[in-house]
Structures are given as C-alpha cells and as structure tokens.
C-alpha cells in the first residue's frame, strides 16, 4: 500500500527550506529568506517532535487499546536495565488518549500485582504537583490486557527526549569523553538548579522523589531536564500510604538530596557507578569530590559537599531560629545555589522572549497566509468580470492595484523585482491596518489612488465577507 510504505520513509528535512551553500555576510539591515521565518533548528526540532508524537506502528502485537489509550508504540526496548530500579521489568509505550486527543507515555511494570489498594492512591498526590521539571503523572491503573498482571502509570509524553544516562554514559553520549572537564560547568548547574526546583516542589508537597537515577531523568530539549517515573516507587514499595508514616518522609527527603549529589557528581566525574550504586563507599565519594574540585568551581564543590556530606557547620539557615537544625533541607540548599537560580531564571526568561518573538513571527505568517488566500479568493474571480465594483472606478479595484503594488514591482528597466521583504512589509502593514498611506497606480498609468492600509484592510474584509456569505 502506497500510503503505508511512504509513511515509514524518514522525511528529508534538508529539502524543506535549504540552507545556503556558504555563509552569507549580512549587514544588520539585511535578511535572507530564512530570516523571515521560524529558525530552522527550532522548526525542525518541533517538526520532529510532532512527527514522533504522531508515529504509529500498524502491527506491533500490542493490545489495540488499553482503557482509553490506543495505538500503543513501544518507546524503549531495553527491559533488562529497567528492572534494576523498580524490581519489575518495565516498558514504556506512547499512546493516544480517546478522552482528550493528547498523547501520553505509559509506563508498564510487568508482573506487578497490587496488594495494597491504598498505595495506588498516592498517585493522586503526585498528580497535583506542578513542576516544569517533573514529567507529570496523571493516573495509574492495573490491567490484564497484556495477559499478565501489569500496572500502568500514565505520564505526559515528551517526544524525542533522551535520558541523562543516554546523554552522558550511553553509547552515543553527547559529550566527548576525551575533553576534560567533560561536561561544561554551566550544564551541571542547569541540571542541579532544575532538579533542585523539582525536589522543592516534591518536598513541599510532603513527598519524596526516591528515584534520582540518570536513566530516570530525561532531557526533553537542550538543557531542559525533567524528573520522570515519579510516584512509582511509592506504589511499588508498598508503603505508599504516606499519611501513615510521617516520620520516615524526612529521611527519604534527606536521601533525595544525597542522591541528587550523587547524580551530579557522577556526571561531573563521568563515572556512572557513582549514581548507579546506592551504596557507594564514602571514600569514593570523597575522592570523586576532590577530583571534581579540580575541574569545577568552588561554588559547585560547595554545593555538592552540602548534598553529599554531613551538614556543614558553617552553613546556617537564614531567617530561621533553629541554628542547630540537624537536617539538611531543600530550602537551605536553594539558598546556597541562589546566584545560580538567578542565572537560570534570567536565561529562562531570555529564552521565553526568544520563543515569544519566534511565535510572533509565525503567527504573523499564519495571518499572512490567510490574507494571501483572501486576496486570491477575491482577485480575478471570473464572476466579477462585469461587476462595476471591480471596474476602474469601483473601490474593489483598489485591491487589484494593491496586489500589483505588492507583487509586480519592476526596476528602472521594467524588469521584475522579486523582493520578499517588500511583500512581507506591505502585507504586515495591511494586516495591522496601519495609518500609512500607499500610492497605487492604475494599470494604464493614467491616475494614482492614494489610500491608507487601514482603508485597504476594511476593503479586503468587506469584499471577503460578501464572498463568503452563505448565499454568495
């Protein structure tokens, strides 16, 4: 079948909007075609994400539907590794939801039999968290659709994400081993700040992450990390009913801080063992810290010391009474890394601005497409051939002349001029309906018509409204 075979061919993105063969030196007031549209990298990244989101597998051998979820596509085929953390083989599928049309990631623990029904209720608590650095958990249910006892955790689906494990320790790790320090300090801080932010949200909700493993932290775009697979441990470990064990939650939270330290340290030292093994000997930790201290700043070392060591005596919580508070806490940690929080906030806001201006550009383009379509719908319609409103005295004649003004410029020698900048400038002004006047010239070059973009806009709207009236 033509349709299906075509489907599996990867798209040739370079054919979409080709890049120039060589770098062009542009003056500040010059743009190439690319300059008018969404930057190629961002567009391609999002295109690939949507493509991944929509991908389906016609014959997967998986259940056709799972509750409201259908069109399951396995995302991870490596089950062995995944059983390490939860004690069960775990699978991830991408699926569409019948109830809201969105795409979700389903994490299945194979062979899990729910004994304590209260345990699954903690999922509700996780669902309530709102952190931009946590993959949101929506619900969990047990199912026999796979022919066994399975439990399914439903998360937001982040297409094309990779785990920190893949990025730093995997076969195709992003950072070259040879270079030292392997990972730029800025990257480490970014991880640290974002994961601290996730922990802050979790701890504030009186929960604990419990799992901070490189294979369970995903990069959903460059420099954007999210804690995934949250909430599972609470259900699986059986003692999920938080309310019944208030005393131990603070211990788990202490562990979280320690584990965060291990995670960052293992990346800093490019040593997976540090994060893979929960019981790393303290000497190894101390040695690694010292090693990391050679490549990274004092600030980072201080932060890691706080997470990994006993509570440093000099660190005193500001604004709290208990100077001898025995426990480390995420709030205190945030204070230590405050300058980096500010840096991250600043760059996040900057990126916000970039995205907003890119969105602005594309929204404009979207409106221009509609505007151009309107123009084409109304211009040169055979129906209007003998309509007086389109004659040289009618006001709709303006639209024809404006089209000429936009697209039919010539140079002194009468040769066509193709100036996309001019086109976009004119159309944007028309779309905004600005007060600037434009001079149109009749085709016979006998008279000129001076009209503002605002009036032209009204004219387009009126004509188009006439056209699309149900009864013509």
């Amino acid at each position: 079948h033509q349709a299906q075979s075509a489907h599996y061919q990867p798209l040739n993105y370079h054919l979409y909007a080709p890049l120039p063969p060589h770098a062009i030196n542009l003056l500040p007031y010059q743009r190439t075609v690319q300059g008018f549209f969404l930057s190629d990298n961002l567009r391609e990244e999002i295109q690939r994400k949507t493509e991944a989101t929509l991908q389906i597998l016609p014959t997967s051998g998986l259940p056709e539907a799972l509750d409201v979820y259908y069109s399951l596509v396995p995302l991870d085929t490596n089950t062995e590794k995944s059983s390490r953390i939860f004690g069960y083989s775990s699978w991830i599928y991408k699926a569409f939801s019948k109830s809201d049309g969105n795409t979700y990631a389903l994490r299945r623990l194979e062979g899990f039999k729910l004994t304590d029904e209260k345990a699954i209720a903690t999922v509700q608590q996780w669902r309530r968290l709102s952190s931009a650095n946590i993959v949101t958990l929506f619900e969990a249910f047990t199912t026999r659709a796979f022919g066994d006892n399975s439990i399914i955790f439903v998360y937001d689906y982040h297409p094309l994400s990779s785990t920190l494990f893949d990025t730093h320790f995997g076969a195709s790790a992003r950072y070259p081993i040879s270079r030292s320090p392997v990972v730029p300090e800025q990257v480490l801080w970014s991880y640290l700040v974002q994961l601290s932010s996730a922990l802050k949200t979790i701890h504030s909700a009186n929960l604990a992450a419990r799992v901070l493993d490189p294979s369970k932290v995903i990069l959903t775009s460059k420099m954007r990390v999210r804690l995934s697979a949250v909430g599972i441990m609470d259900v699986v470990s059986g003692n999920g009913d938080y309310n019944s064990r208030v005393e131990s939650i603070s211990a788990l939270q202490q562990d979280d801080l320690y584990n965060l330290g291990r995670l960052i340290l293992s990346i800093a030292c490019n040593n997976h063992a540090i994060s893979a093994n929960a019981s790393v000997p303290p000497q190894i930790i101390a040695k690694s810290l010292e090693y990391a201290g050679q490549s990274y700043s004092v600030g980072l070392k201080t932060a890691l010391h706080y997470l990994l060591g006993n509570r440093p005596v000099s660190a005193v919580a500001i604004g709290k009474d208990g100077l001898t508070e025995p426990l480390k806490g995420i709030d205190e940690f945030l204070r230590i890394i405050a300058p980096y929080l500010q840096q991250n906030l600043n760059s996040s806001l900057h990126y916000q601005d970039t995205l907003e201006s890119e969105l602005c550009k594309e929204l404009e383009n979207g409106r221009l497409v509609r505007l151009l379509c309107k123009f084409n719908f109304i211009n040169e319609r055979p129906e209007y051939d003998h309509d007086s409103a389109w004659s040289e005295t009618g006001d709709r004649y303006l639209l024809k002349l404006f089209r000429d003004y936009v697209f039919h410029q010539t140079d002194e020698n009468g040769l066509p001029v193709v100036d996309l900048g001019h086109v976009l400038r004119c159309l944007n002004k028309l779309d905004a309906g600005v007060d600037e006047k434009v001079m149109l010239v009749s085709r016979d070059e006998q008279s000129c018509l001076i009209v503002s973009y605002k009036e032209l806009k009204n004219c387009v709207d009126a004509v188009f409204r006439d056209l699309s009236r149900p009864n013509g």
Binding site: K374, L398, L420, G421, E436, M439
Partner: protein, 762 residues
C-alpha cells in the same frame, strides 16, 4: 473539562483515500494551518526560496510625491490624482538589497579626506556635482569635519565665477534676494555709491548691502557669508516686529518662508529708501511738492490715488511712491482689462497674461463702501482709482502667489515674459509684452523696455526642505545657459527653459526684478572707488563714555595716506556669541553641526613701511549688543568690560566703523600682512583678493609635513622673541607677523629659502 476529541488526523491514511474528506475550513478560523499535512516528498519543495537571496528589511516607506498629494481629490476614503509619469508605475531599485543611503553619496568628501585620497591614489579625484535639474534645487547643507568649515568643499557646489552665500546663519533665508539685488546694476551702483560715502549710521542696511556686494564681487566665485548684513538686520527692532527674523531656538519657521521673504523685500527697500533720505534731504529735488529721494529715481513707482464719492462726486487725491509692487491677481470673474469681456467665453482665465496682470496690479479701479468726508458725511459707494504717474528703471515685484488659481497661472508655459514695454501716458499706463529681441530706443523718452533680471523662487520639498533660491540671468558668451541658480552656496548654470519653468508644488516665484534695458542703466559703475570718503582712517571715532582716555596707537597722518601696494599688518581678536553645536554619541563619535559663532572684538592694524613702521594706527575694540557667551580671554586677551562703553579703557567703536576702516584700506589697495588671515577675514566678513594678502602661515608652511607653524614658534625661532606669554595682543601679533615677513624677504634675498626649509624640517 473532559471534552471528547476526535481522533484527529488518523482517519486520512486508513480511510478510503478520496480527496475531499477533511472538513472544509473557514479562512478566518483559528485552526492551525498544519492540520492539513504534506504528502511525502523527495525533492526540494516548491516553497523553498533561493537561500542566498538577500533582502533589505530596513527601508523606510517611500514618501508620496508632494505634487501628487497636492493635486489629489478625495472621494470617500480614496485620494485620486493624475499619475505624473516620471517613470513607470511601481518602479523600485533594481537590487532590493542595495544600500539605502543613495543621497548621501552626492555630498563631496571633506577636503582633508580628498587630500588623503589623492595622496594615496596619486591623483586627485573630483566628483561632479549633480546634473539633475530638480536635484540642484534641493537644500544644500554645510558639513563640518573636525577641521572646521575650511574642510568643507564648497568648490564642489560652485564652479562658476559668481560667489554663493553660505547657510547656517540666522536669517540666511535672505541670501536669495541679496543675490538678486547684487545682479541688478542700478541697485548695485546705488549701494556702492552710498557705502563709499560718509554714512555714519551705525546700523545702515544700505551700507551693509554695499559691503556685501563688494565682497561678492571680490570673491570671484568663492563662497561668502552675509554675516554682517544679517547681524545688522537683526539689530533693527522693526525687522523683529515685522516677523522677519528667524527664530534661532526652533528650527521650524513660524512664518511661511515665501511670505516672510516678500515682507523682507518690502522692508528692505523702504528701509534703504529711508536711510538714504535722511542724508539726501538737502540735495533732493522738489518735484510736485514732494521730496524725491535717490532711491525713488532708481526703483520708485509713483502713483496718484483718486477717491471719488459716487454720490457727491467729490474727489480726494493721494500721491505715493512705493518700491515694491505686489502682483494682484484678477478674481476669476473679472475679465482681462475689459478686452476679453466681449467674448464672454470660458477661456476668460486664460486670457490673462502677465502684462495684463502687472498693469492691473499697478493701476486699479475699485468700488467699495466708505466714509465720504467731503460733502456727504456718511457712508457712500466710493470709487478708488490708482494711476501710475511715473515708473523708475527698476521694477521690483512680489509675486504674492497664494491661491491655487494664481499658482496655476505661473505653471503655464511662457507665462513670464523676458521683456515688456511700459508707457506712462496721459491715458495712464500701458504694458505690453515685446519679443525678446526688442532693442530699446536709446533716445526715446516715452516708452521703456523692461527686461527680467531674475527672480527669487521658493522651493518646497516638504517641511524638511523649504527654502529660497534665486534664478538670475547673467548674459554670457554661452547663450545656451544664460541663467544662474543661486541655491545658497551652490551656484549652477541653467538654460532658459529650465529656469523659467515653474512647478505647481515645489517651485513658486516669490520676488522678481525687471530693469530698463537701456545700456546706460545696465552697467556696473566703478566711479565710487575714486570718490571714497576716507576721512574715517584719520580719526579715532571712539565712543567711550570716558572721553578723556588716551590710547596707545597713533592715527594716520594725511601724508601717510595709503595707496595701492601700501603694506599694513593686521591681527584681530574674537569673542564667542554662541558656543559650537555638536552631536555626540555614546560610542564616542562626535559630529560638529555648527562651529561657534564668533564676533570681531578687536582689530589692530600696524604700519608696514616708513619711519613709523611697526606702529599701530588702528586698534579698535568693537562694542556689541549681542550676548557674549565666552570672551575667550585666554586667546583673545579681551576681558569683560573691555567692550562696554561705560567701563572700557580701550578705544571702543561700533563694528561698522572698524569694518569700514578696513574696507577703505582694502579698496585703497593696501597689502595686508598677518598670520593665519583666512580665518580672521572670514570672521570680520571681508573678502581680500589674494594679491593683497601676505599670510605668514603660508610663507612658512612645510609642505612635506602638511604642517602649519604657530606665530609663537616662528617668533621664537626666527626673531628670538617670546610672544604670547600670557595672552594674545593683536598689536604684538600684527607686528610680529610684519617682522616675520621682513625676515622672510631677507632670507629670500640671500637665496637661503631652501636652506631655511631644511632648518624648519629638523
């Protein structure tokens, strides 16, 4: 919150592939455009543009031609106008990404840059000024480099032998009219005759006009400034009251500039008529119980106005002489002098030609209701009749174009006649156009043939460029281009066709001058040079309050009377009336807009030869009413109080006295020695021909290093003298320059000038 969504997009591929299955989309809906997907592709998409195409995104909107806007008629929201067809429609620059600054390339490089370039290239590269006639009318701006105004290439704008006038002066809008008068021989002769006389009036416009005309002639095509003239103008209270002064503070002119110039024209003529009258009263002839001044004979139009009461028929007469006649345009319903009345056709308006209108402007017949004071003693219908009694050889007109109809008239081809004949007879005035080839009857007394001298034209290219220029006909060998456009310091030759073509929007006539073309009246007179009143040179003329003061210089004695070639040494000091204006950017660049405005504060002239060589005979301090922002004491030696008649211990004179002394020396043929005189003369506002200047800066100029040596250094090096130890003293400086010159002559005598060069080079 759990609304059901369609399983969207999925249907296409699994369902029967019939084309129109997706629901129709409204254009206005906010549905993402990518809800319709792409088919699979293996080739470059059609939507891909050449990736190396470059576009300019910073081009300002093109302004709509003001001519079109002016003729536009609004119908609903659309303005309609005929397309002027200067080019095809929608023509743009061929390369959309070419440089936006097209106009900037038309200004010349600074002279310092040219020197640099020519030094690099080994050849001098001169740019040609624009040849586009419309472009020539656009406002020209002086640009200042860090070397000041001398660095600006005025020569680029003027390759003619006629001097232009600089802008960047308050009231420089008068430039155009001043040029027009300078080329009206009778006015020129009139002004120079006056200025070479004994006029002692401090603020005399006619004197200043004379100084200015002389300067313009001596400049032989170099740029001049009407600095002293405009300063004199602004010191006259009436000028300010009439709104003739440009407001320095705001660049925007409150009055329409054309109207302002016409008022100025009237004011100027009346003023010089009046100024002249005060001196000429004894010699004036008594004609018909009225004093006739010299100006009346040059440019006066004498009229008799008769008011006749329609009821009692009693008449009153009034006799008046005016110098400037406003053109009065017929109202559309009026017929042309009754001649076309019989036809009664639509072409009435077209029947009006310039001569008819002119006649109509000079003589008129109006009926108005007014007070009859003779017999009726009540309001009656009065008939006012104006008759011309006599015309003078110069006829000055203000075009007074205010209405669209009058504007239209001027735009007609050949509207303005080059020559017309005027007869003042018993019947009254008759004016008729005569062919350009008409030669005046040199003996005849009755009819005069008037010929167009030139005109002042208002140029309007929008609010940023609304200025005055003059077009003046100067007969030349080159018959094809007898017209000269004086656009401030830009002067260019034009053909008659181009000069006489008016434009509805941007080119409107403002003032015109016709002059009788009898040969006796078209010659520039030089007799004044032999009749100069030089008495001022032999007196002090100080105006200090304390009359007991004695000054350190000695006036010339009669036997020392300067002659052609007499050597004098000069030096001048200045104070600042206005600080320089600059624009400064945060990246450190600096842009001089106007240099500081200086005023002559002291001038010293020293005898060059004879037993009293080196002794000053002029050391004038100049009083001024203008606000002095900086005395520049460090350089000028002038201190606060020095220029105040009540306090000063120095010999204080009005600017005109000091100036006139120099002007007399100049016209007696003296040779001026000094150090760096170009700048002094510029600020004094006098033009000294090259062969009357010896500048020690140029004598000791090191060409190889392009270095000018200071007076102080030269004095120390060549004369073993320490000068300028504390402040500058212009007598000392003038003396030093004189001795340097003598030293120079000495060295040259000994043939050691090349050796001297070597010494200086060390």
């Amino acid at each position: 919150e759990s609304s059901q969504f369609t399983e969207f997009g999925r249907q296409i591929e699994w369902n029967d592939p019939v084309i129109d299955t997706t629901p129709s989309m409204k254009v206005t809906e906010d549905v993402p455009l990518n809800t319709v997907g792409m088919p699979y592709y293996k080739e470059k998409l059609l939507s891909a543009w050449p990736p190396d195409m470059v576009f300019n995104v910073a081009r300002p909107p093109e302004p709509i031609d003001p001519e079109i806007l002016a003729t536009m008629k609004m119908v609903d929201f659309v303005g309609y106008a005929p397309f002027p067809k200067r080019h095809r429609r929608y023509v743009t620059e061929s390369l959309p990404y070419s440089n936006y600054s097209k106009t900037e390339s038309k200004t010349p490089m600074f002279r310092s840059e040219q020197d640099k370039v020519s030094a690099q290239l080994g050849t001098s590269r001169t740019m040609e000024a624009t040849t586009d006639p419309v472009e020539s009318f656009k406002k020209v701006e002086i640009k200042y480099s860090k070397f000041g105004v001398e660095d600006f290439d005025f020569g680029f704008y003027n390759r003619t032998p006629y001097a232009g006038l600089e802008t960047h002066l308050q009231n420089s809008y008068t430039n155009a009219l001043l040029q027009l008068y300078r080329f009206t021989p009778l006015i020129y002769n009139f002004a120079l005759k006056h200025v070479s006389g004994s006029c002692r009036l401090e603020h005399c416009l006619l004197c200043e006009l004379g100084f200015l005309f002389d300067m313009l002639v001596k400049a032989e095509g170099q740029h001049c400034r009407a600095y002293n003239f405009v300063r004199c103008l602004s010191s006259i209270p009436q000028a300010s009251a009439l709104g003739l002064l440009e407001d320095e503070a705001s660049n925007s002119k409150q009055n329409p500039i054309g109207a302002m110039l016409q008022s100025f024209n009237r004011f100027l003529m009346e003023r010089i008529g009046q100024e002249n009258r005060t001196k000429e009263i004894e010699s004036s002839e008594l004609i018909n119980n009225k004093f006739v001044t010299q100006l009346d004979k040059v440019a006066g139009v004498t009229t008799l106005t008769t008011v006749c009461c329609g009821n009692c028929k009693s008449e009153t007469h009034r006799r008046a002489t005016t110098y400037v006649t406003d053109v009065v345009y017929p109202k559309s319903h009026e017929s042309s002098n009754g001649r076309a009345a019989g036809n009664g056709t639509d072409s009435k308006a077209n029947a009006w030609n310039f001569c008819d209108i002119l006649q109509h402007s000079l003589e008129s017949n109006t009926n108005t209701r007014g007070w009859c004071g003779e017999k009726c003693r009540r309001y009656q219908m009065l008939t006012t009749t104006k008759h011309v009694l006599s015309l003078a050889p110069v006829l000055v007109l203000n075009a007074a174009v205010t209405t669209p109809a009058s504007r239209q008239l001027w735009c007609q081809k050949n509207f303005l006649p080059m020559k017309f004949q005027a007869d003042v007879g018993k019947e009254g005035l008759t004016i008729k156009q005569v062919p350009e080839s008409t030669v005046p009857d040199e003996d005849g007394n009755i009819s005069e043939i008037y010929e167009l001298v030139g005109m002042v034209v208002e140029v309007n290219f929008g609010p940023a460029d609304n200025h005055m220029v003059s077009l003046i006909r100067i007969p030349q060998e080159d018959v094809s281009k007898p017209w000269y456009l004086f656009n401030d310091f830009s002067v260019q030759q034009f053909s008659s066709a181009e000069a006489l073509k008016f434009d509805y929007v941007w080119k409107t006539p403002t003032s015109l001058i016709y002059q009788s073309c009898r040969s006796s009246r078209t010659e520039y007179n030089t007799q004044w040079k032999d009749q100069m009143d030089t008495s001022l040179l032999y007196s002090q003329a100080a105006i200090n309050f304390d009359t007991s003061l004695r000054f350190e210089y000695s006036c010339l004695a009669k036997e020392e009377a300067p002659r052609a070639g007499t050597l004098v040494a000069i030096d001048a000091e200045f104070v600042a009336l206005q600080q320089e204006e600059t624009e400064i950017r945060s990246d450190g660049t600096r842009h001089l807009i106007r240099p500081s405005r200086l005023s002559l504060a002291r001038v010293s002239v020293v005898r060059g030869d004879g037993p009293k060589a080196g002794v000053a005979f002029i050391d004038d301090y100049i009083t001024t009413k203008d606000n002095i922002v900086d005395y520049l004491t460090e350089f000028s030696g002038i201190e606060i109080g020095d220029l105040d008649p009540l306090k000063s211990k120095k010999s204080l004179v009005p600017l005109k006295v000091a100036y006139k002394k120099l002007w007399l020396l100049l016209n007696l043929g003296c040779v001026f020695v000094g150090h760096g005189l170009a700048n002094d003369f510029r600020t004094i506002n006098i033009q000294v021909p090259k062969d009357q200047v010896v500048d020690t800066v140029d004598l000791f100029y090191i060409k190889s290093r392009q270095r000018k040596l200071s007076l102080r250094f030269l004095a120390w090096y060549l004369l073993n003298e320490n000068i300028q130890t504390e402040t500058h003293d212009s007598i000392e400086d003038a003396k030093t320059a004189l001795f340097l010159y003598k030293k120079y002559l000495e060295i040259r005598e000994q043939g050691g000038l090349s050796a001297f060069d070597n010494v200086l080079n060390e």
